[in-house]
């Protein structure tokens, strides 16, 4: 599919927003389910992009910026793979190859993030000088320069893919043999586990493992929807908190919420 001028501008705006949010982490324009859908919306290729966004979101569920560590870059992954999906013009058939392209891009995005955060150090030094003058206006200005830098981090790569154009992208996708795309689809089904593993490693304690087991077993009952499971989960949490309060002293011992400590499965895993 070839995009017209207005569509290209809109795609770049969406990319810019996704790039900003990749660091701000507030409105969540960079989450795949939103970024891919927006790209689909402005290019008129809504349904395939929506479905791509859903699948990428599943993979990226556990990706979070914790402390100074940065997770794989969902912003570049979703924006670029959605653009490639649109340019390839394969519709829903192209989703699994778009996902396979998205993952290496998430790594490349990480490098760009590191670069921009290093550049931001220079901006903060300029802010220091503005502070000497007591100038609020200059601090405001440089804060926005930094934010725009984050937006360009995604908008520029998106522009490059658009500049390469539909032809080469489609040729690339069509060269992918069937066994490769099928295999990548299977890999995509397994990759989801990595995100979950990251989150579980952060949260798991001896106290909460049973709830994981209950959730796992209840999910085999296909009639219970995700909302239903959420309701059961909230109820269990409330019941547990109420009971442990009644138990008086018993809850005091379990106050160590730090990950790692008192995590039996984690300990077993560690020992191998």
């Amino acid at each position: 599919m070839t995009l017209n001028f207005i569509q290209i501008i809109l795609v770049l705006i969406v990319s810019f927003l996704a790039g900003m949010e990749g660091i701000l982490d507030e409105f969540h324009f960079h989450q795949p389910v939103i970024a891919c859908t927006l790209i689909g919306l402005v290019t008129g290729d809504l349904t395939p992009c929506l479905m791509l966004g859903g699948q990428l979101q599943m993979i990226a569920l556990g990706w979070a910026n914790i402390g100074a560590a940065v997770a794989p870059d969902a912003a570049l992954a979703s924006v670029a793979s959605a653009i490639i999906l649109v340019l390839g013009g394969q519709g829903t058939k192209g989703i699994s190859s778009a996902i396979a392209i998205a993952v290496p891009l998430a790594v490349a995005g990480l490098l760009l993030t590191t670069l921009v955060r290093t550049l931001a150090t220079a901006i903060v030094h300029i802010m220091d000088r503005a502070a000497e003058e007591g100038s609020f206006r200059k601090i405001d200005f440089w804060q926005w320069v930094a934010i725009c830098m984050q937006g360009l981090r995604i908008a520029i790569p998106a522009g490059l893919i658009l500049a390469v154009g539909a032809g080469p992208v489609r040729a690339l996708l069509e060269q992918m043999p069937d066994w490769l795309t099928k295999g990548l689809g299977i890999g995509g089904g397994m990759v989801v586990a990595v995100g979950y593993a990251m989150v579980i490693n952060m949260m798991a304690t001896r106290e909460v493992w049973p709830f994981f087991a209950i959730g796992f077993v209840l999910a085999t009952v296909k009639e219970i929807t995700l909302i239903g499971l959420g309701a059961i989960g909230i109820s269990l949490a409330l019941i547990y908190l109420a009971l442990s309060k009644q138990g008086g002293g018993s809850s005091n011992g379990g106050s160590s919420n730090n990950s790692g400590a008192g995590d039996p499965v984690g300990d077993i895993i560690d020992n191998y």
Binding site: M58, R117, M190
Partner: protein, 303 residues
């Protein structure tokens, strides 16, 4: 110093809006410091009027700062309260303000990560993703509206709470409430993760373990069906009675595994990933590795 200066509600709304951009100038040297100073500007503008005061205030808020971006809000509230007292002549020095900031940012980040990143986001995200994968536009809309409603309300109320509690907040926070919220979120999060691992990690083995013929009468005998539409109707009726569609009963390795409990291989894969992550293997390497495994296993016919 004739009359006391107060931060107005309008200033606090401006600070609340600016806190959205807290991480904009995130850098490796002092992390969120630039965004922190930027966020506080409406309050500082109200409180300080000479160039010297303003310069001193900005410098003190360009010190190192880093916490969970949402949990910065209660700290912003407390800091505004302290700055207000200071501007009105209370003996609060730079060290005291920096001490409160640093003292609060660690414990609060410890609350924000499990609550927002590991509970609210996976739950809303999984819900939205499963809708979107089915082509339902409600997925992204639901995610955007729910996430931002929760976030904006949280930022505003905790910021107001911090401002009103002032320096007393450390006592309130060390109480049981925060720990309870964290624990409740952790329980909910682990529960949901358990079900997500079961439903969404897909590992399917295709090799055929057994291929035995069904007994006569246990499968649909296609040659004896009437032709045309009535044949289709008959076949569907027979199928709903529990008859097999094929003459042979094919059992794959996956069918055997599912008899133990559906999703077992997904669980094992997740535990294996946890182990790899604890061994400091980069998640990126694991992700790329799984794609390679998927392709190789597909080519040799295992998956």
């Amino acid at each position: 110093m004739a009359e006391e200066i107060h931060i107005t509600k309008g200033d606090r709304i401006k600070v609340w809006w600016r806190s959205t951009f807290l991480q904009g100038s995130w850098n490796y040297e002092r992390m969120q410091n630039g965004g922190w100073a930027y966020t506080l500007i409406p309050a500082l503008k109200r409180l300080y009027h000479t160039k010297e005061d303003r310069a001193a205030a900005l410098k003190r808020h360009l010190e190192f700062f880093n916490t969970h971006p949402y949990l910065a809000s209660p700290i912003l509230g407390v800091t505004m309260a302290l700055e207000e007292e200071r501007a009105n002549g209370a003996p609060i020095d730079d060290k005291a303000i920096q001490g409160v900031k640093v003292g609060m940012m660690g414990p609060l980040a410890g609350v924000g990560d499990p609550v927002f990143w590991f509970t609210v986001k996976p739950i809303i995200g999984a819900l939205a993703a499963s809708l979107a994968m089915a082509g339902n536009l409600m997925g992204p809309i639901l995610y955007f509206v729910l996430w931002n409603a929760i976030r904006m309300a949280f930022l505003w109320y905790t910021q107001e709470f911090g401002y009103k509690a002032g320096s007393k907040i450390t006592e309130d926070l060390s109480g049981g409430l925060l720990q309870e919220v964290t624990k409740g979120a952790t329980i909910l999060g682990m529960f949901i993760l358990g079900s997500l691992v079961n439903r969404w990690v897909s590992v399917k083995f295709t090799p055929v373990v057994s291929d035995v013929p069904n007994q006569k009468g246990a499968y649909i005998d296609w040659s004896s069906l009437p032709s045309g539409k009535s044949g289709i109707q008959k076949a569907l009726e027979l199928q709903s009675q529990g008859l097999s569609l094929t003459k042979n009963k094919v059992t794959t390795l996956q069918d055997n595994l599912d008899q133990l409990i559906p999703g077992l291989m997904g669980l094992l894969l997740t535990l294996f990933c946890m182990w790899l992550l604890k061994k400091k293997v980069s998640p990126i390497i694991i992700i790329l590795g799984l794609f390679v495994v998927g392709v190789v296993f597909h080519v040799i016919g295992l998956m």
